[in-house]
Amino acid sequence: MRLQLNFKSGKPVYLQIVDQVRAAVAAGSIRAGEPLPSIRPLAEELRVNRNTVAKAYTELESQGVIETAAGKGCFVRNTGTPLKKKACLTLLAEEVDQAVVQAHHLQVTRAEFLKLVEERLDSFEEQRHRKVAT
């Protein structure tokens, strides 16, 4: 799992870490039961405040993405997300809206947009299968 921060994104730094860990879990680049880097080395590597990483991990834990084993660190949770399906979809809708708006400005048609979504889903699925195979 590689994290890359972008101070120009306007997104709070801790949320960038949260989103990227979630994306890494979704893409299978980090799998259930696998440990996340501990706070100190990750903070040093990203050269961000230790508290920022701690805040991101707390958020990931409250979202049910990771769990903390006392004295052992943080791990990706086994069960999927504990959020109710409807809540999940509401959350996701906000993100989709952004893409829809952007598509409009880039004059991407509805058909092209839907095709792209299919392609991206396929691509993630393929990545996940490849990871499982190796």
Binding site: L5, F7, K8, S9, G10, P12, V13, R40, P41, A43, E44, L46, R47, V48, N49, R50, N51, T52, A54, H105, L106, Q107
Partner: protein
Amino acid sequence: MTDHAAIHIDRLVRRYGHTDAVNGLTLEVKPGRCYGFFGRNGAGKTTTIKCLLNLLRPTSGTVRVFGLDPRKAEVAVKSRIAYVPDYVAFYPWMTVRQTLDYFAAFRARWNRATESALLDRFRLDPRQNTTHLSKGQRTQLALITAICAEPELLVLDEPTAGLDPIVRREFIEAVIGAYQEGDPGRRTVFVSTHLIAEFEGLIDEFTIIEDGRAVLSSDADRARDRYQKVYARFAAPLGGTLDLGAARVLKQNGREIEVLAEGDAELVVERLKARSPEVVKTESLTLEEIFVAALQPARGSAALA
């Protein structure tokens, strides 16, 4: 004690002759935060820091460190602070080892494990005489003396100016790792610098100082959210006027326009979109760009030629 701000500065004035080096500065640093103090050379950063350490007396205004007046409670304040100045001098007859022991003798706490870990990390030879250390190595040694004492407040004054990129990187990593790790809630950093980019990830909150006054104080994430650059490209050159509110036009040539929005990016984007652009992009400013924007006088209105 923990209820007090780590640093509280209220309407601080420090005058040298007829010059006001600091002229009505107010800021507050909460415990556990990493606070950036950004300003150009001569803006009043070092004078402010010297008032915190009782190396200078304020002309007027108040300075409190953990609720204490550094003039009246100098020992109590200094026992909780460590300071790394931009230029570090050690006793020339001492070795690295002797220098560390000398500093440790003044401190109630001294973390030997951190000391040896940092000596290794910085590849410093304890037997070396301090006169033979490079500028980078002297700064590294000063940082070790500061971190090993496990102070509640670490004050860094232009710590990385004039150092090579590797030393800078290791310096910041040591502040994040060795210093913050100990007791994160009670590890406060106050760093003055004009090399803002390299501290970007570390800074929770900051003040930009110019002519001895605070020009802007903000939470770092909030500032990046507030200051946005909006770029738009149109199919044809824009005619007429385009009211972009208080936003500042940074660049405009033909079909392209770049605007700096301060808190009203949505309005700017909306107004630009009303002209059916081909592309609209927004991007946050980095702290360094915010620093430049805050210190540059506004340039004209947003009306198009």
